[in-house]
């Protein structure tokens, strides 16, 4: 079986359309983040892992709903309660009040629930308590890790390829992470530790996809007469040649992820959704963002020999 055999799509020519799509998506991203800052006070819906606070997940043996759980926890003053998956389970998130130990918060919730539903009518299946300090540190650490990995990737690609390849790859990866964050902001996904792992996976996947295309471009550049070829044509050829591989790899990864989404249970559901989205964005960006970025960088700054940017634009020769 073969798919996209000797495809001849003009990807680079379509780059302006891609810019518009990405541009709109990025605008939506920033709008969603800005809206979140106004409405919930932070640009992403950080979970207790990042903000500090308590999370108590309760499984009821008796019939319960959001409203009855809220009523049990003080009606209007109740901490946020959300249903967990489709089961008779609820997640209660309570901030930690100054001077109160984290253990007291959980005990308090348990006591209130026992008063309303009767002791023994529910089980606490999960309980997380995170001090505020830990949460803040975590945000910084995650940020540093991502930035640092950008820098090293850039250096590695500059050595193995050329600086512009590294720059284009980082631009594409940033694009992917931003769009994923935008999605998370738009749908107010709770950001927990596994979400961070999902974002990092997207980073790795996107980079992998981009490098495969770049590898092909590099190969064609080393062929005889490459310097005389139209760079757009060369990049197009490379993308088309790697297209079967791109589709097959993404397809296979998506198949695994969809299996996890459908059958994997509630615990990893959010996490899987983020990964699926990331694979789609990552595939899109390696074709429509990374490669065009390479062309744009070259159009603007010239060829650049192993990292030296030349100020004067030169005739385009990838």
């Amino acid at each position: 079986m073969r798919l996209f055999e000797s495809a001849q799509y003009k990807f680079i020519e379509a780059r302006r359309k891609a810019y518009v799509i990405s541009g709109i998506a990025l605008l939506a991203t920033f709008a969603a983040m800005a809206f979140n800052i106004v409405s919930i006070g932070s640009w992403l819906n950080y979970g207790v892992d990042f903000t500090g606070g308590s999370l108590v997940q309760v499984r009821f043996d008796v019939e319960a709903n959001d409203a009855s759980v809220r009523a049990a926890l003080g009606g209007a003053d109740s901490p946020p309660v959300t249903r967990f998956g489709d089961e008779n389970e609820f997640v209660i998130r309570a901030p930690i009040v100054e001077g109160q130990t984290i253990n007291e918060v959980a005990a308090d919730i348990e006591a209130q629930l026992a008063a309303a539903f009767g002791a023994g009518s529910f089980d606490i299946v999960r309980q997380e308590l995170v001090g505020a300090k830990v949460g803040n540190e975590l945000q910084l650490k995650a940020l540093y890790a991502i930035l640092f990995s950008f820098v090293l990737t850039l250096m590695y690609l500059a050595i193995r390829f050329e600086l512009r390849f590294g720059m284009a790859a980082v631009i594409a990866t940033m694009h992917d992470i931003l769009l994923t964050l935008g999605f998370l902001a738009l749908f107010r996904f709770e950001i927990a530790l596994p979400t961070v792992a999902a974002i990092l996976t997207i980073l790795g996947y996107s980079l992998n996809d981009t490098i495969v295309v770049f590898d092909r471009i590099r190969e064609h550049l080393h062929e005889k007469g490459a310097r005389k070829r139209d760079p757009i044509d060369l990049v197009n050829q490379s993308i088309n040649e790697t297209l079967p591989r791109t589709i097959l790899t993404s397809g296979t990864t998506l198949a695994v992820l969809i299996a996890l989404l459908v059958l994997g249970g509630v615990v990893i559901r959010d996490f899987t959704i983020v990964l699926i989205l990331g694979v789609i964005i990552g595939t899109y960006s390696s074709i429509f963002v990374a490669s065009p970025a390479l062309i744009e960088i070259q159009n603007r700054y010239g060829l650049g020999k192993s990292g030296e940017k030349k100020p004067k634009p030169q005739p385009a020769t990838v």
Partner: protein
């Protein structure tokens, strides 16, 4: 081929022998992060680091007592401690209490066995009276005098159970109330053997739980001789073929507690090349100690932490505010350092607080495992179908290589003792993706070469050679990311980084060596013009 077999077999063996352990988020259990409570920020990092070391030591001892399988008690950074306990089954609160409890260090006098041994019949009777004969039978402790006349004997090494027994217990026990078999039960005293250190009994480790049960009873402690008590030693010692734990006879009152101890350091006596612990008491403590040791030269001094005797050195001389404990020739310095840590543990300058806690009930964990297993298998099945449909015979080879990959990754994780967590699964998915990708890259290249009209063997060789650069670069950049994440990350992100790193190494090996080996076997004997199924 042979290399592939060896590596796979090794990984498979690791997986089989060690098993893959699941992280707390999947298995259920408790994860705690502890920190020194220092709201004003007045303590130096060194002081905090030292405190965390002491707390680690204390919690280690306590958790051992708790009997959790493979607890993790790890210092992270310099001022934090992670405690992970799996499978607590509803005992989370007690575990938390144990972790947070302040350490309590006491100095007590080790007493001769005479009085305690004389009290043993009284203790036995108290147990029989409190529990009833039936429940004692149920415990398997219905030993009667007639069945085992020699209760207290020397057991270490030699079979000579008639050795000198200065305490004369046997006589006492037998002498009393011989006519009533019900009251002659010896549930407790039959567990005891005379220790090889003064003031101790030895109890076989398998009997320890029953003995603990008895010792926890008020009826038993009331039957102790005046001002005497029994407390466990912390070490387990082998005597002959069996293992024993010491039970010390101690003064009930501590003559000195940990708050009077200022400092303790481990060192080496240069003259005798002997490990030793030097300690320093407060002035009040020094006065008490001087008076006490002056009266008890030649006696043993028990150092008791949280109710366990950590060490019982002999008092050689009157000691004031400064003293030293000699560890005996040939004792490693680590043991001295450990004892110093125990001494300092009793005097923590600030409380320890839990700053992060995650408890996952076992039920939630089990659901996740079941669903994850099904989903994972279906996912792998889909990969197999896609690869075989698309690449036919080559796809079969790739699937076989992926099988090897799976064994390598899981074996690698098991070998490193890593836990599989939700973020870990993410790392695994990414690396499965990369393993598939590597195969796809190679096959696409081979197809291209075949389309270009190359002979079978040449096309396969060229395909592998040309796909190499893309695979190497993609794997190395991802590895760079994984390493950075490991460096920066918290435990969850680390789990991701570890599985990803192992996954990349395995995928690299499986694509370049395993697939290649399978391929070479497959095309062996084919002529240049023979078609291959790809």
């Amino acid at each position: 081929m042979i290399a592939v077999l060896i590596v796979t077999a090794t990984a498979g063996w690791q997986l089989y022998s060690k098993g893959l352990s699941l992280g707390l988020d999947l298995q259920g259990g408790m994860h705690l992060v502890l920190e020194v409570d220092d709201p004003e920020g007045t303590m130096t990092l060194e002081a905090k680091s030292d405190m965390i070391d002491r707390v680690q030591r204390i919690i280690g001892t306590r958790i051992d007592e708790f009997g959790v399988v493979e607890p993790l008690i790890q210092k992270v950074g310099r001022d934090r401690l992670i405690v992970e306990l799996a499978g607590l089954g509803g005992e989370e609160e007690r575990a938390k209490e144990i972790v947070q409890r302040n350490a309590f260090l006491e100095f007590k006098l080790v007493l001769p066995l005479v009085d305690m041994t004389a009290a043993l019949p009284r203790i036995d009777r108290a147990i029989v009276a409190a529990l009833g004969v039936d429940s004692i039978r149920a415990l398997g402790r219905d030993v009667v005098v007639a069945e085992q006349p020699e209760i207290v004997g020397l057991i270490f090494g030699n079979a000579d159970s008639t050795s000198a027994d200065s305490t004369g217990v046997s006589d006492t026990t037998i002498a009393e109330e011989e006519d009533d078999p019900e009251t002659n039960l010896q549930p407790f005293s039959s567990l005891l053997n005379q220790g090889d250190i003064e003031g101790t009994y030895l109890i076989a480790v398998e009997d320890v739980p029953v003995a603990e049960l008895f010792l926890a009873m008020d009826e038993v402690t009331r039957a102790f001789p005046r001002d005497e008590t029994l407390q466990w030693g912390s070490d387990i010692v082998g005597r002959g073929a069996r293992n024993y734990q010491y039970l010390y006879v101690l003064s009930e009152e501590a003559f000195l507690t940990g708050d009077l101890l200022n400092d303790a350091t481990a060192g080496r006596d240069p003259q005798f090349n002997q490990s030793q612990v030097q300690f320093e008491l407060s002035r009040a403590g020094g006065r008490l100690f001087s008076q006490f040791t002056g009266q008890h030269v030649g006696d043993y001094l028990a150092i008791v932490l949280d109710g366990n005797v950590m060490s019982a050195p002999v008092i050689r001389d009157r000691i004031g505010a400064r003293g030293q404990i000699e560890m005996g020739a040939g004792t490693p310095l680590e043991e001295a350092a450990d004892l110093a840590l125990v001494l300092r543990a009793g005097a923590l300058p600030a409380p320890i607080v839990i700053i992060e806690e995650r408890t996952v009930g076992p039920s939630l964990g089990q659901d996740s495992i079941d669903q994850g297993r099904v989903a994972g298998m279906v996912g792998m099945f889909l990969v197999v179908i896609i690869m075989m449909t698309y690449y036919r015979m080559a796809g079969v080879l790739a699937v076989a290589a992926l099988g090897v990959y799976s064994v390598l990754v899981l074996g690698g994780l098991a070998g490193l003792g890593a836990n599989l967590t939700v973020p870990g699964i993410a790392g695994l998915i990414l690396s499965v993706g990369m393993a598939v990708d590597a195969n796809v890259l190679i096959f696409e290249r081979i197809r291209e070469e075949l389309t270009a009209g190359r002979a079978t063997r040449t096309a396969v060789d060229e395909g592998f050679a040309n796909a190499m650069s893309a695979i190497v670069d993609a794997n190395i950049t991802t590895l760079i990311t994984a390493v950075i994440l490991y460096q920066f990350g918290t435990s969850a992100v680390k789990g991701f980084a570890v599985t990803l790193s192992i996954g990349i190494a395995a995928s690299f090996f499986s694509a370049l060596f395993v697939t290649r080996t399978f391929f070479l076997v497959y095309i062996q004997g084919k002529k240049a013009s023979d078609p291959i199924s790809i």
